[in-house]
């Protein structure tokens, strides 16, 4: 017995090396089984095209599996960014989750914790190779009555000086609103903490002046959702000034602050609001990185 134990102990390092090598080889041999073929993706695209409805969206799981973009019908938005499981996707009553759980280290716990609450399967899952396509009813969806990005041409934009100085109007110049003091507004895609957002891209004037955006004839809504953040790498730089947003509407005033050096979209929502004008004022003392991405939406109840 002692002799056997001794021999086993002596051979243990070699056995450990061989076992680890075999495990490594095994991992590499089985890994390709997790990779969908083009045909798998085309089948997914076919299924989506056949079942699509207005407001559908595809959410990728894991978030980085963006090869799907090559195949998903272009009319259906594809969401895949770091942190997307927390996205309410409130404009989308149905979410198609395209999951590949055969991939190593798939972040399932994050998916369960952040995506699943308020979402229920709206049909059976379909399997396409390693891909699973599951429709979910989005319990967080709301009716979007109006989005400011769709109302750029109706916005009255001006720069208000400090200390009650008279406002200087801005000019609509094609798809862009050009203002004094190098302030501008346009509608564009930008990234806020890895999230692609189509937003009012606002460069407010520095030096204590305020950019005012007024929508004179906004509809009644259950609430106004204001979201704003600094785009890209301009957000994290330390030592930057805050950006202040003040929304005046028939529901009262909503104040939002984007703290200097902080990334991400900051949110605020008003109570229900009657029809009437909205005025959003954007102010910052920051003269450099003032690149603000703003989403302002009038929301109704569940769709």
């Amino acid at each position: 017995m002692n002799e056997t134990a001794h021999r086993l102990r002596t051979a243990a390092p070699a056995l450990a090396l061989v076992i680890v090598a075999l495990l490594g080889l095994g991992f590499q041999l089985q890994l390709p089984r997790a990779f969908p073929t083009d045909a798998d993706y085309r089948a997914v695209a076919g299924a989506l095209a056949a079942a699509r409805a207005p407001g559908d969206v595809v959410l990728l799981h894991p978030w980085w599996t963006e090869r799907a973009r090559l195949f998903v019908p272009p009319e259906i938005p594809v969401v895949g960014y770091l942190g997307d499981t927390r996205d309410d996707l409130l404009a989308h009553p149905r979410i198609w989750v395209l999951a590949n759980e055969r991939l190593p280290r798939t972040p399932d716990a994050d998916f369960r914790r952040n995506f699943l609450p308020d979402r229920t399967p709206a049909g059976p899952s379909q399997q396409f190779g390693p891909l699973t396509l599951t429709p979910y009813r989005n319990g967080r969806a709301r009716r979007v009555i109006l989005s400011a990005v769709d109302a750029l041409d109706r916005l009255e934009v001006s720069v208000e000086g400090p200390g009650g100085a008279p406002a200087q109007p801005c000019q609509h110049n094609g798809a862009r609103v050009q203002c004094p003091f190098d302030a501008t507004v346009n509608v564009a895609w930008h990234e806020v903490l890895y999230q692609p957002v189509r937003c009012l891209f606002v460069i407010p004037p520095g030096g204590g002046r305020t950019l005012s955006l007024r929508l004179p004839d906004a509809p009644a809504a259950d609430g106004l959702l204001l979201e704003a953040g600094i785009i890209w790498e301009h957000a994290w730089l330390p030592g930057r000034a805050d950006v202040q947003l003040q929304l005046e509407s028939p529901a009262g005033n909503l104040h939002l602050r984007i703290p200097g050096g902080h990334e991400g979209l900051f949110r605020g929502e008003t109570p229900s609001v009657a029809a009437g004008p909205w005025t959003l004022r954007v102010t910052t003392a920051n003269t450099q990185d003032r690149l603000v991405c703003i989403r302002l939406r009038a929301l109704g109840g569940p769709p």
């Binding site: 002596t10 051979a11 056995l15 090598a21 991992f27 090559l70 590949n100 280290r105 890209w232």
Partner: protein, 607 residues
């Protein structure tokens, strides 16, 4: 035990060098041009023109203004490798026309990188067994990221080779005085390769001094003490000058006739005189100290002479050189879903990234070897540990310190953390050596447990070696030429690393994966935006026939017909800008490694 390799091991080392050189050359065509590499290509060409001028009009070439003009470009790095790249390209491509331009530049990098397995084998076979040396040597270049970096006309792999060369020669010189001057020459070449080498004296001085002290008699120790006193006096003198003049003034006022020069000359003269005295009075101690003396005298001399940019303004340009690297900019780097942009960086970063990028079958023997080495060195300080695990000794310490030094240096939270594993590559040959010893011990154990004959033991070693190296080899083959994207099994491979939130790639070379598609799908005159690919690399892809010559670089998505975006967490905005400019979020194609997006190509829809 002699430290000299046997003739057979010398031949094996030569074979390893040759095989590595051939494999690197044979596999280089697919490797893209990293952002820095194209800069070094351009610098190498510029410098080779200066060398040509030196041959034809030496007086002009040697003037301050011409030297400044010729060497000002990319003076962040010394000249040795860039000169070799330039000469090689001038000979192999321009003169003989044997190879494409990129291969012409890269050949010296292959030759220098190929030294690593050869040196590892020489050292490992002398320390332990031929089997240990061979396994260690082979294990080095079956690590995907190491194999990748060995292809580049850059300095990370060359300085790893030079570091190993210096330490190996130092180790040999401790026994054989004839190696001492070569240690000095090797240090000079290392300094002329990359700034990491300035840490080599810091690493090796304690070893040389301690060995000399132990070997010295009473008289020898008195001389060594005096050498220490001279060094301390110089440092005190320098500190005094710093206090009196301040740092900028100390640099600016450093002239041939100045207190600073006096101090430096006094130091060198004093140490030379004392070294000669030590040689006369205590030859054994001198042998131990000789490599350090050679390093001190020959190394800086080679460094200075090889770099014309220093000749007329040595002090202020050296000061700039050190300042540049001491205050290097921090590039964004993704680590577990955090984009690291500024210090302090996570202390465990280097260890974690090393563990996640190495094939697991090599990580295990490296870790075991490192632990064994650590415990044995501890045994030199704690006798009870030595009784249980065996003593360390100078060579064990030398291996351990060099295996850990670069890793610990980059682990400092204030040191830039970008660049994957390339900044601590000098540690990796030593880890490979320690892995070789563990492998050898494991095979010995197996042979003993199975009571194998010597011949069967050899066969078992070969089979086991092949088995242990195979996962690493297949990983390297699988990921080539996209080495900066490689992750080992512990990370879950490339897709596992993406889910863990690790840096997807860097240095822009992965664009080669989509160049054939761009070539096939661009109209003549198309404007192509290759994100992260600098203008020099764009030019290099065209002149190496990897990209059509009738397409033009675009400055951004706004003026591009095609855009190839490199996936970096910190560059998401730039992909979104393509959506904005092109009016679509649907890519046309892409490079997806094991499903992970690496380079995504968009085409502007027809109006």
């Amino acid at each position: 035990m002699s430290r000299a390799p046997t003739p057979v091991d010398r031949r094996i080392a030569l074979g390893l060098w040759l095989a590595t050189f051939v494999v690197l050359w044979a596999t280089e065509r697919a490797v893209g041009f990293t952002r820095d590499e194209s800069v070094y290509f351009a610098a190498a060409e510029q410098f080779s023109r200066w060398w040509s001028l030196l041959l034809h009009r030496p007086a002009t070439a040697l003037s301050d203004s011409v030297i400044t003009q010729a060497f000002d470009f990319n003076h962040e790095h010394p000249m040795l490798m860039k000169s070799l790249f330039g000469w090689s390209q001038a000979l192999l491509h321009q003169t003989l026309g044997w190879v494409r331009p990129a291969a012409g530049f890269r050949v010296p990098a292959f030759a220098v990188a190929a030294l690593i397995p050869a040196l590892i084998h020489l050292w490992g076979s002398a320390l332990w067994t031929r089997r240990a040396g061979l396994f260690a040597a082979l294990s080095f270049f079956v690590v995907p990221r190491q194999f990748f970096h060995a292809h580049l006309s850059c300095f990370d792999m060359p300085v790893a080779a030079m570091w190993l060369l210096v330490v190996y020669l130092f180790w040999r010189a401790e026994e054989d005085l004839r190696f001492a001057p070569w240690t000095g020459v090797a240090l000079g070449l290392a300094l002329a390769t990359k700034h990491n080498a300035f840490f080599l004296p810091v690493v090796l001085t304690p070893f040389g001094v301690l060995a000399a002290w132990r070997a010295a008699g009473e008289e020898g120790r008195r001389v060594i003490l005096r050498m220490g006193q001279v060094a301390v006096a110089f440092l005190g003198y320098l500190a005094l000058l710093l206090v009196v003049k301040g740092r900028p003034e100390l640099v600016q006022s450093w002239q041939p006739l100045s207190p600073q020069t006096f101090g430096a000359v006094a130091l060198v003269a004093g140490l030379i005189a004392l070294s000669l005295q030590l040689r006369r009075r205590d030859g054994t101690a001198f042998v131990r100290l000789a490599p350090l003396v050679a390093m001190g005298l020959i190394g800086p001399l080679i460094f200075f002479v090889h770099w014309p940019w220093l000749w007329y303004h040595p002090v202020d340009r050296l000061a700039w050189y050190f300042e540049f690297h001491a205050t290097h900019v921090h590039y964004a780097w993704t680590y577990f879903n955090d984009v690291l942009r500024a210090p302090p960086f996570p202390l465990a970063y280097v260890f974690v990234v090393t563990a996640l990028t190495l094939p697991v079958s090599l990580l295990l023997p490296m870790t075991a070897g490192l632990l064994r080495s650590g415990v044995r060195c501890l045994g030199d300080l704690v006798p009870a540990v030595a009784r249980r695990f065996g003593p360390g000794g100078q060579t064990e310490w030398l291996l351990l310190v060099n295996a850990l030094f670069s890793i610990l240096l980059i682990s400092h939270p204030e040191v830039p953390h970008f660049g994957g594993v390339k900044h601590w590559l000098p540690s990796m040959p030593f880890l490979a050596l320690l892995a070789g010893r563990e492998f050898d011990r494991a095979v010995d154990g197996l042979a003993s447990a199975l009571r194998l004959t010597a011949r069967r033991g050899t066969v078992a070693g070969v089979v086991m070696g092949a088995l242990v190296l195979l996962p690493a080899f297949t990983l390297t083959v699988h990921v080539h030429p996209y080495g900066t994207s490689a992750y080992g099994e512990l990370a879950g491979g490339i897709p596992g690393a993406a889910s863990l939130g690790l840096q997807r790639q860097f240095w822009s070379n992965n664009v080669t994966g989509v160049l054939p598609w761009i070539d096939a799908n661009s109209r003549p005159g198309a404007r192509v935006w290759l994100h992260e690919v600098n203008g020099l690399s764009f030019r290099d892809y065209q002149r190496n026939d990897m990209l059509r010559k009738d397409v033009f670089p675009a400055g951004g998505p706004e003026d591009a017909d095609l855009a190839a975006v490199q996936y970096h967490q910190e560059f998401r905005e730039q992909e979104v800008q393509v959506w904005q400019a092109f009016g679509t979020w649907v890519p046309s194609t892409g490079l997806y490694l094991d499903e992970t997006p690496q380079v995504i190509v968009y085409r502007r829809p027809a109006p």
